[in-house]
């Protein structure tokens, strides 16, 4: 199905929904293709390829709301799908806040090229993919004879999605992504088989990192874990490596969401324009990052996207509020979910930040753990490296950090210049003071 056909389908579904009794309808139709190759023991171990369609219909009927999805987009099946969707909606309770967004929010969509879709996508051949994976593997295996196992992979995907709202919105998005990398397990005589990985994702094939870099990195990171142990409980300074910072950030972003706020499950309730972190914390939600993994011109409600300062020098400036929760909260909507998170970056590299650490722990990964959006409490498992007088001393694991997000971000002492661009959360490495670690 090409884009024109997808638009026709989406419009047809919206139209039929109204004929079946809906007052308003929102339709999203997506076509996607995914390919994945994995190698191990110098052989292709997994080869996956498929294309798929999906269709989502949101029905607004008499202030009642429901949403429905199907992967069967044949018209005869859809007739029944649509009428059943509308019929089931009538059994729900009325909710006066449920309408499509006011069309004024669709206005002002930027006409900028975001480079989310690689025109060379179709030219990437199977042979090329296999050659890349083989190169990652060759480099990785050459690093050490302690390797027990190494799996390398390459995957790419393409999607095209069309959105049609019965109150006038029409728009489409197209995107590609390429991922590659390795995971390695090594021998540790003191017991255990430490493992680590390095995978990265980009929009354009040309921006993929060098295969040998990833192969080496995965193995070196695993080797670094040999002999890892836990330390004594206590307060330590902490640096969170850029590629894992996104997970910590979740405990701040979740409570900024309109649903959490309105449902009284957010410790950030009532804190707009208040200081919630140190002046090193500035986060901007930027939908226009060129080649950005989260970039888009309109959000999931069709609202035109804007750059938004979410936190400025530690002061909370904005929440993520969609039009539904905006009405419930009696607040102007912003947008319902994140695009790219961009920081005001510092001027140190991770190596420089480590050199400046008197005594602390470099956290290279989180394991499990959770946070409580209502109270701000959090507790996460960690793994990393003990640093003393600016030098790495030994690997650590089997420890937790605990605390409360109300205090954590005030303890943010510095952010690096090393934005992790392989994620929509473009975190720098971040250093914190006096964080509670539990170990022995």
């Amino acid at each position: 199905m090409n884009k024109t056909e997808i638009y026709e389908l989406a419009r047809w579904v919206a139209d039929r929904a109204k004929k079946a009794g809906a007052d308003e309808a929102a339709v999203d139709v997506t076509r996607s293709r995914d390919i994945e190759i994995e190698c191990r023991l110098r052989k292709v171990e997994t080869l996956k390829e498929s294309t798929q369609m999906s269709l989502n219909l949101a029905v607004y009927a008499g202030n009642r709301y429901s949403s429905h999805s199907t992967n069967d987009v044949r018209r005869d099946g859809l007739e029944t799908f649509i009428s059943e969707a509308v019929a089931m909606t009538k059994h729900l309770n009325e909710d006066p806040f449920r309408t499509l967004p006011d069309p004024k929010y669709y206005q002002g969509r930027q006409a900028v090229e975001l480079h989310t879709s690689d025109p060379d996508y179709e030219n990437v051949t199977s042979d090329r993919r296999v050659a890349i994976v083989r190169e990652i593997e060759d480099t990785a295996l050459a690093v050490s004879d302690r390797i027990i196992s190494c799996t390398c992979s390459f995957s790419d995907s393409f999607y095209e999605t069309v959105k049609v709202h019965s109150n006038g919105f029409e728009g489409d998005r197209v995107g590609t992504s390429f991922s590659m990398g390795a995971e390695a397990t090594v021998r540790d005589e003191s017991g255990g088989r430490p493992e680590d990985w390095d995978y990265r994702t980009v929009r354009f094939f040309k921006d993929l990192p060098a295969a040998d870099l990833l192969g080496r990195s995965a193995v070196q990171r695993a080797l670094r874990k040999i002999g890892q142990t836990k330390l004594e409980s206590g307060r330590y300074d902490m640096i969170v490596e850029n590629r894992t910072g996104g997970r910590l950030l979740g405990s701040l972003i979740g409570p900024m969401n309109g649903r959490s706020l309105q449902q009284k499950n957010s410790f950030l309730d009532g804190k707009l324009d208040q200081k919630i972190g140190s002046d090193k914390l500035t986060i901007i939600d930027d939908p226009f990052v060129d080649f950005g993994l989260g970039s888009r011109l309109f959000d999931d409600e069709g609202m035109a996207t804007k750059q938004r300062v979410m936190i400025e020098k530690g002061v909370l400036k904005s929440y993520y509020i969609d039009t539904y929760y905006g009405k419930k909260l009696n607040m102007e909507p912003t947008t319902g979910s994140t695009t790219n998170l961009v920081f005001e970056y510092g001027n140190q590299s991770l190596e420089e930040m480590i050199k400046g650490m008197e005594r602390g722990i470099l956290v290279t990964g989180f394991i499990g753990g959770n946070s409580n959006a209502t109270t701000g409490d959090f507790s996460y498992g960690i793994m990393g490296v003990l640093v003393e007088k600016g030098r790495p001393v030994k690997p650590v694991n089997e420890m937790n950090i605990s605390g409360n997000s109300k205090e954590l971000w005030e303890q943010l002492a510095a952010v690096g210049r090393d934005a992790y661009t392989y994620s929509s959360r473009r975190c720098p490495s971040m250093s914190f003071e006096e964080i509670q670690f539990s170990g022995v």
Partner: protein, 512 residues
């Protein structure tokens, strides 16, 4: 938690379980539904998917067109629904239908995979030819005929969810909301999420076997928020399993709502325990998440044949006290993690991972069973027809032991009693595993004293197993169940545990 791509999971670098509160999107059935009761016959399933045995065999021949040792076709039709109560109104519902076939070709331990949502011979042949690209030798022929492999039914239900309209669910949610608000004046908010889904699956293998299953599932989550003197706390509870509507009796609704409320209001007095190693007593039931993380993933046979698991060299060795036996079981009646057949068509069973302290069996899928030259254990599961199967857990629990709960609690000088959990994760090579304690109690001088909340517990799997020093006789299986994530695929699972004591494990509290 939303959707996770395989890449995101591998970026997390670990297998892990995530207890998911996000309901899946489901939809009413656009295709002809079966007449009640659900079907048992092979012909019904063939008709349901619009295919014939001859077509299946033709597709297999195409799949084995470049060679290969084995191939299978996994047909799936899933219909699911969610109904949500928020702000005292049942104001949101969603549904989803998923329909397709996944085609897998295996050569040695290597896999080619493709799927299609169009079950026409043309589309299936194309998918088969794509999957065939993995192979280059050892030609296997498609089977001459297919014979049905029957399986017992571990989850009979009275009424299929396809026959339960949303009008019959709305009153349940309103009732739960009513009980919650009546239970305690401090409750300021509650949400109820009710999900059900129904899957029809049919698996045909090139060894000539074909198997089918009808798989119901339901879950109801209640979460509530309470406020006291400007302090807010939130918690919840859930019930579910492979049940029909009859499961949600008035007694069940009372229990669900009241447990959610109690767990929430108890948090007002909760403190964080001290940080560091201490004795931990685990309440029966959901605490089985410890087993899922500490040993379950590490015993999945794919990790062991690749030698990346810390358990790769431990079969036959003593890993725990002799009164410790740990199983992974797909046969518990109506439990969330139960399966009549796995997604490779193999029969389900109760598999002993640890028997009387000795490590006994990995959890196998087809490829691993071939590698180790053992019988498959029925652990080859997949998230959907879009995914290739791999070893996954089912209901993972420890058998009852010789002690009593009272003596276990009394034996603790200073430690914690862990009762409610949200999620866990494991790195199976190093053996580091964690689970998050949403609520519990301090134990001081043999007595449960103050409530505790929001602490992560972390330990080393094999080490912690040796430190299970007391096991009571009160084994319980978790009533609700969880959702396990591995390599970008979700699978419904459950766990169980008797009251047990771990002599030492690291608790993520605060230093004094």
């Amino acid at each position: 938690m939303g959707q996770m791509t395989r890449r995101e999971f591998v970026k997390a670098g670990a297998v892990g379980l995530a207890f998911v509160g996000v309901p899946l999107m489901f939809k009413g059935n656009p295709l002809a539904a079966f007449a009640a009761p659900p079907p048992g016959g092979l012909n019904d399933y063939l008709e349901h998917f619009g295919v014939t045995e001859a077509v299946i065999r033709e597709v297999m021949a195409a799949a084995l067109g470049h060679g290969g040792d084995y191939c299978d076709l996994f047909f799936e039709h899933t219909i699911g629904n969610t109904v949500t109560l928020e702000d005292n109104l049942v104001s949101r519902a969603s549904s989803n239908v998923d329909f397709g076939v996944g085609i897998r070709v295996i050569e040695e331990d290597r896999i080619g995979y493709s799927f299609t949502e169009e079950l026409t011979p043309k589309a299936m042949m194309e998918a088969a030819r794509t999957a065939a690209n993995i192979a280059s030798q050892s030609t296997s022929a498609a089977p001459q005929s297919l014979s049905l492999r029957e399986a017992p039914n571990y989850y009979p239900i009275e009424t299929s969810w396809e026959e339960v309209g949303v009008d019959r669910k709305v009153p349940l949610l309103l009732k739960l909301n009513e009980i919650v608000h009546a239970a305690d004046k401090r409750i300021i908010n509650s949400q109820v999420n009710f999900t059900d889904n129904t899957s029809y699956i049919m698996v045909a293998g090139s060894d000539g076997r074909i198997a089918c299953d009808f798989q119901p599932m339901t879950r109801c989550f209640v979460s509530c928020t309470a406020e006291q003197n400007g302090q807010r706390e939130e918690s919840g509870y859930n019930l579910g399993g492979r049940h029909g509507l009859e499961y949600f009796s008035p007694e069940a609704l009372d229990r669900l709502a009241e447990t959610a409320v109690r767990r929430t209001v108890d948090l007002f007095d909760a403190v964080k325990p001290e940080a560091g190693e201490m004795e931990v007593v685990l309440a029966p039931g959901y605490s089985g998440i410890l087993l899922h993380e500490a040993i379950g993933h590490g015993m999945e046979a794919d990790f062991n044949r690749k030698e990346v698991s810390i358990y790769a060299d431990k079969i036959g060795k003593a890993v725990a006290e002799s009164f410790v036996s740990i199983v992974d079981d797909g046969t518990n009646p109506n439990m969330r993690g139960s399966i009549n057949i796995d997604d490779e068509g193999n029969p389900s069973e109760k598999t002993f991972m640890v028997r009387n302290g000795i490590l006994e069996s990995y959890l196998h899928d087809h490829i691993s069973a071939q590698h180790y030259k053992v019988k498959p254990t029925g652990n080859g599961r997949r998230q959907s027809f879009r995914h290739q199967p791999m070893p996954r857990m089912r209901n993972t629990y420890m058998l009852s032991g010789p002690h009593k709960k009272e003596e276990i609690v009394q034996s603790v000088k200073k430690g914690i009693y862990a009762e409610a959990f949200t999620n866990g994760e494991v790195y199976i090579g190093a053996g580091d595993f964690t689970f998050y304690v949403k609520s519990g109690y301090l134990i001081e001088d043999g007595k449960m004293t103050r409530p505790i909340k929001d602490v992560n517990i972390i330990g080393n799997g094999p080490e912690v197993l040796t430190k299970v020093v007391m096991v009571a006789d009160d084994m319980e299986l978790m009533e609700g169940g969880g959702t396990c994530g591995k390599n970008g695929q979700w699978a419904p699972v459950s766990f169980g545990l008797p009251t047990i004591k771990v002599s030492s494990i690291t608790v993520g509290g605060v230093s004094s």
